[in-house]
């Protein structure tokens, strides 16, 4: 984003740097592995952030975008604050998720993370408010009946103890305004 006014990115590394808001410092990575060692879900990732960054430098675009790594990022920012080179790792993961969705490569991972993000995005654009995660659980109950048996007490508890209801969330008054803003932002992003 910072360098979008400059010439077109020459390779995947430059593309990722250009797409990350602020200064990504991705090119400063020294491959020390502090990120992977600090990551709460690192053990379940296809590649540690360090390995993924090496792959970005090697221009392995498709392999990077097929990796489950960005989708297993929990946005805890441990890697970001511990990185000795101050690489904005969490922000880079968001940029990679965007690339993966646009390239339609995430489906090959067979993980529901992208689906969750897309459902969430859809709710925000439809109501201006989210079905937050408690409601996402409810969403699961409704749309993944195989999970129903195991999760029934949780769903029931949500309804009785949390006083959630099954109706749609209230729409904000400025929904048209919000969508006009989001539409223009999408146009700007596509033009970049």
């Amino acid at each position: 984003m910072t360098t979008q006014a400059a010439e077109r990115p020459k390779n995947f590394l430059e593309e990722v740097i250009a797409a990350t808001p602020g200064e990504s410092r991705l090119e400063m990575c020294i491959q020390c592995g502090t990120c992977g060692g600090s990551c709460p879900s690192g053990g379940d990732m296809d590649h540690t952030p360090r390995a993924l960054f090496a792959m970005i430098r090697a221009d392995m675009r498709n392999e990077v975008l097929r990796s489950n790594t960005p989708w297993y990022c929990v946005s805890c920012y441990f890697c970001t604050v511990r990185c000795p080179q101050e690489v904005h790792i969490t922000d880079i993961m968001y940029a990679l998720k965007n690339f993966a969705i646009r390239a339609k490569l995430y489906e090959e991972n067979k993980n529901p993370a992208a689906g969750l993000s897309e459902t969430f995005t859809d709710q925000v654009e439809r109501y201006g408010r989210s079905f937050e995660f408690g409601l996402a659980t409810r969403h699961n109950l409704k749309f993944h009946p195989s999970k129903l048996a195991g999760m029934a007490s949780l769903g029931w508890g949500m309804l009785t103890k949390r006083q959630l209801d099954w109706r749609e969330p209230k729409k904000i008054d400025g929904l048209a305004q919000l969508n006009a803003i989001l539409e223009r932002a999408k146009t700007l992003e596509e033009a970049a």
Partner: protein, 338 residues
């Protein structure tokens, strides 16, 4: 009277209703006025940015622009307060990156202009509720309001991730080992236990993506608190509270354990120490009931308003699994504690 703009966010209005109710209940005791931002929208949590990056900044930009607008002819309060960690992070991050990058600020404002809005980076200062209580109101004033000290409560303070990190404006000093909530709990008369996992991840959205990943993260925290003999976990994040409380039951099933560690918002405990009615503070909404604690420690009954989910039977401690943790002696063997 200290006045602030207030961004409650979607979670505080639904699953974390106890957090919102208890926060609002503290206003008069603390001479605090929280004015809700008019017609705010969702902050995008950790999901919107995954699908649309620049629009995720514009999404938050609308909230910042609304917070900076004068209301009823009066200038907006210079400080915008959020209670939810994800909301706080997203608001702070958007403002910070817009201050850092003129290019991003310009693009966000080009988008905002489509809705007739504009945001001058830095126009509002984004701060977390805990920061306001510690640094603006102060521990002395909080301590002075305590009428029902939480004597004998063993509290583990749990911050989660997104308030102490990345902490763009250095409000919390230590990204991995903050102490503010501990100081606050001590001011309320509680005994604070050392909880090394206090800024480790609760699993975030992983409960929706990978059960094995998320339940393991939840187990570490709950087992850690249990083995340090905490009566409860106190937190400042709706997501953490939801994962550790609602999913504690599922985690117990997954690992065949029987932990019973209530997870309560810090504002609920402040209100309790101030003598406010527990029902008004949202007690009774938690899955892992804190009713026995309130009864044992304070002699306060929380009426069961709704059908409660049955609490696992005591004794609550399951067989330790995973990494070995230091075992604390059972109660009665630590005579020196308060």
């Amino acid at each position: 009277m200290s006045k602030y703009s207030f961004y409650p966010g979607c979670s505080m209005e639904s699953s974390a209703r106890a957090y919102l109710d208890s926060t609002l209940a503290l206003q008069s005791s603390l001479d605090l006025q929280l004015d809700e931002v008019k017609d705010w929208n969702c902050c995008g949590a950790t999901e919107y940015a995954a699908t649309h990056l620049l629009p995720s900044y514009a999404l938050v930009g609308r909230n910042l622009a609304l917070a900076a607008q004068p209301s009823h002819g009066a200038p907006a309060a210079p400080t915008l307060v959020a209670g939810c960690s994800a909301c706080y992070l997203n608001l702070a991050k958007t403002d910070y990156y817009m201050r850092q990058s003129g290019d991003l600020a310009e693009r966000v404002n080009t988008a905002l202009a489509a809705g007739g809005l504009h945001y001058q980076p830095g126009a509002v200062k984004v701060r977390h509720l805990l920061d306001i209580l510690i640094n603006d109101i102060g521990l002395a004033q909080i301590k002075a309001k305590v009428t029902r000290p939480l004597k004998g409560w063993r509290v583990a303070a749990y911050y989660g991730c997104q308030v102490p990190r990345p902490d763009y404006d250095h409000r919390f000093q230590n990204a991995e080992y903050p102490m503010q909530m501990e100081q606050l709990m001590q001011a309320l008369g509680a005994t604070v236990i050392d909880f090394p996992l206090k800024t480790h991840c609760c699993g975030g959205h992983m409960t929706q993506i990978s059960e094995a990943t998320s339940y393991e993260l939840i187990r570490r925290l709950i087992q850690g608190a249990d083995q340090y003999r905490a009566d409860l976990l106190v937190t400042l994040c709706p997501m953490c509270q939801l994962n550790l409380d609602a999913y504690q039951v599922e985690m117990n099933k997954f690992f065949k354990t029987s932990y019973h560690v209530p997870v309560i918002f810090f504002t609920q405990l402040i209100g309790l120490a101030f003598g406010i009615d527990p029902v008004q503070l949202g007690f009774g909404r938690e899955f892992i009931s804190a009713s026995a604690l309130l009864k044992d420690k304070l002699g306060v009954d929380v009426p069961v308003a709704e059908e409660a989910v049955a609490a696992p039977p005591r004794p609550r401690r399951g067989q330790p699994e995973g990494l070995p943790m230091p075992r604390m002696p059972r109660s009665g063997q630590l005579g020196q504690e308060e």
